[in-house]
């Protein structure tokens, strides 16, 4: 079975590294990390992930802007995007299953278990070979 490809975009290098380590430890996922918002679209086009875990508040380009680009590009439009953010409003916290900019989200700090559940829920279903 092919591993699910996950693109993690976050300006915190240590965070992306740890997420990569934790997710890849399960043996189910292939993770690529990106620490600059501006490089996210290129990485998505190149890596063609099954899901993008995207931070919102990044110094060079916001997650919302990255989302716009991803959804505007025909090559990446179909990739599901899940925000991973520390900027969660109270309303979002109160309603599980809520969205930010129309996308599902994971509130930081999240356990690896929660991330995996979310990935499984929202990532593209790969046809089993």
């Amino acid at each position: 079975m092919l591993k699910k490809k996950i693109l993690v975009v976050d300006d915190q290098e240590l965070f992306t590294r740890l997420v990569k380590l934790n997710l890849e430890a399960s043996g189910e996922y292939e993770v690529r990390t990106e620490n600059k918002g501006v490089n996210a679209l290129g990485a998505a086009k190149e890596f063609r992930p099954d899901i993008i875990l995207l931070d919102i508040l990044m110094p060079d380009m916001s997650g919302s802007e990255v989302l716009k680009q991803v959804k505007a590009d025909p090559f990446t439009r179909s990739i599901p995007v899940v925000f991973v953010t520390a900027l969660v409003k109270k309303e979002n916290l109160l309603s599980p299953g809520g969205t930010i900019d129309g996308q599902p989200f994971i509130a930081k700090p999240a356990r690896t278990k929660e991330m995996i559940e979310c990935i499984e829920k929202y990532s593209k279903k790969r046809p089993s070979l």
Partner: protein, 487 residues
């Protein structure tokens, strides 16, 4: 006694009017007396004039030797001509006319006597003529005395009038002075006080109070002014508080972001460590779990702060409080059943709507319901009651006399949540709304719930009370909302 300004002004004018009327009355009385003396004098003077003429006529007669019948005929003619003169006189007053009528009658008698004189003379010669002249002379001097007496009387009247006028003027001056003092004390001084107080308030000194102990509109104005400055003080405090809270909210959002990112790294790091081989070691495992739990707790605290930060804006709508309660009860239905708690609701039908933020008020009820459920782990009774209450009162101002008509009326919507649980320890009951205060020790959450609830309640201008039940165990939470627009 309540005297309004119009009554005061009216009263002063009435006093002035009475004074003017009394002066007119006094003037009229003295004038009449004066006129009477003048009439008397005129009458007497006219009599004197006539007598003088008579005397001259008699002198002419007496000067001739041997009074004859013809002489008296001449006298009779002269008297008749004097009566003619009297007839031509114009009289100014009825008394004058009356006096002259009397004089005329006297002259007629005199004429009659003169006409009879020739007959008498023929019988008694002219001895009576001399006697007549003598009598007329006596009459003349008596009339003169009378005239001087009348003159003295007139002077007396003049003096009296002068005295009365002087007293009147003095009385007037005193009255005007009293009116000035009265208006100064009851109108101008309070208004000056109000002006300076308003100036002070304008400079931001909201503790400035006016002390007007008057039962009139100015007194009411003073009380309303004091009430207004109190309101301004509260509004200003609320504004400052709102600004502070806005700042705190911004800070909280910033801090949340800055803390949550490192927490995310800590959590991921802990997850990574727990997968490492050394994590099987008991101490290492304990340490890794400790890190995870500490990060979770820090996250809960930050979430509490975020929640607080988001309570600063209200989405106000007209709401039925009963439906909010019913909705909240639905959300905790599972916990209620699980804890074996029976619910007793007594919700007032057709209760007036209140202006509130649905989500936030629901949050308040959920918080109190959750607290009640937690306090009854072995089951119990939850009683929820709503009712309306009308409250009337007078403006509570120590500077203002309460009997005045400065009342207010408001309608209140009251909700009570009563449980039969543990109740609250009396020594902490006043601390429960303090942020981070918890009766549950380290086991509890971030302990911001009741603090947030208090903020929400205050933002709705509502009141909240928590008390332990005196007769039975458990506690009672009372929420009081004002029904807006109630007159």
């Amino acid at each position: 006694m309540k005297l309004n300004i119009n009554t005061k002004i009216g009263g002063v004018f009435l006093i002035f009017l009475l004074e003017v009327l009394s002066l007119f009355f006094v003037y009229d009385v003295f004038n009449k007396e004066h006129e009477y003396y003048v009439d008397e004098l005129r009458e007497e003077m006219l009599e004197l004039k006539l007598i003088n003429q008579l005397q001259a006529a008699l002198g002419q007669i007496s000067g001739k030797e041997g009074l004859k019948k013809q002489h008296f005929e001449v006298l009779s003619t002269k008297v008749e001509s004097l009566i003619g003169v009297l007839d031509l006189w114009r009289f100014n007053a009825a008394q004058e006319a009356e006096a002259f009528k009397k004089t005329k009658e006297d002259y007629f008698k005199f004429k009659d006597a003169a006409s009879k004189m020739p007959v008498i003379l023929s019988l008694t010669e002219n001895n009576y003529a001399g006697q007549l002249i003598e009598d007329v002379g006596k009459f003349y001097s008596a009339a003169e005395r009378q005239a001087s007496k009348i003159n003295a009387g007139q002077d007396k009247v003049k003096n009296k009038i002068n005295k009365v006028m002087a007293i009147g003027i003095l009385f007037n001056i005193a009255l005007i002075f009293c009116a000035i003092v009265y208006f100064r004390l009851t109108i101008s001084r309070p208004l000056i006080n109000l002006k300076s107080a308003a100036f002070e308030v304008g400079k931001g000194n909201f503790d400035k109070k006016v002390n007007i102990k008057l039962n009139d509109e100015i007194g009411e104005l003073g009380a309303v002014f004091n009430k207004m400055t109190e309101g301004l003080k509260v509004a200003q405090a609320q504004l400052i508080m709102a600004e502070k809270m806005e700042l705190v909210s911004k800070l909280a959002r910033g801090v949340a972001h800055e803390v949550k990112n490192p927490l995310a790294v800590i959590m991921q790091g802990a997850d990574y460590l727990s997968a490492c081989s050394f994590a099987k070691d008991e101490v290492c495992s304990l340490a890794i779990n400790g890190i995870t739990e500490a990060a979770k707790k820090a996250d809960t605290t930050i979430n509490g702060l975020l929640e607080f930060a988001s309570t600063r804006k209200l989405d106000i709508k007209l709401l039925d409080i009963n439906s909010i309660i019913e909705n909240s009860l639905l959300l905790v239905k599972y916990q209620l059943e699980k804890s074996n708690i029976t619910v007793n609701t007594e919700l007032k039908k057709d209760a007036p709507n209140i202006l509130a933020d649905k989500n936030k008020i629901e949050q308040v009820f959920l918080n109190f319901l959750a607290n009640a459920i937690e306090s009854m782990p072995d089951g119990g009774q939850l009683k929820i009651r709503t009712y309306t209450e009308e409250r009337t009162g007078v403006i509570d101002d120590p500077h203002y006399k309460k009997e005045a008509n400065l009342k207010f009326m408001e309608q209140l919507e009251v909700a009570e949540i009563e449980d039969t649980g543990y109740g609250l320890p009396e020594d902490v009951i006043h601390k429960i709304f303090t942020p981070f205060f918890s009766t549950k020790g380290d086991e509890g959450g971030a302990s911001l719930g009741l603090w947030i609830v208090r903020n929400i309640v205050e933002m709705h201008n509502a009141k909240m009370k928590i008390e332990n039940n005196k007769d039975s165990k458990g506690k009672k939470v009372t929420l009081i909302f004002k029904v807006e627009g109630y007159k």
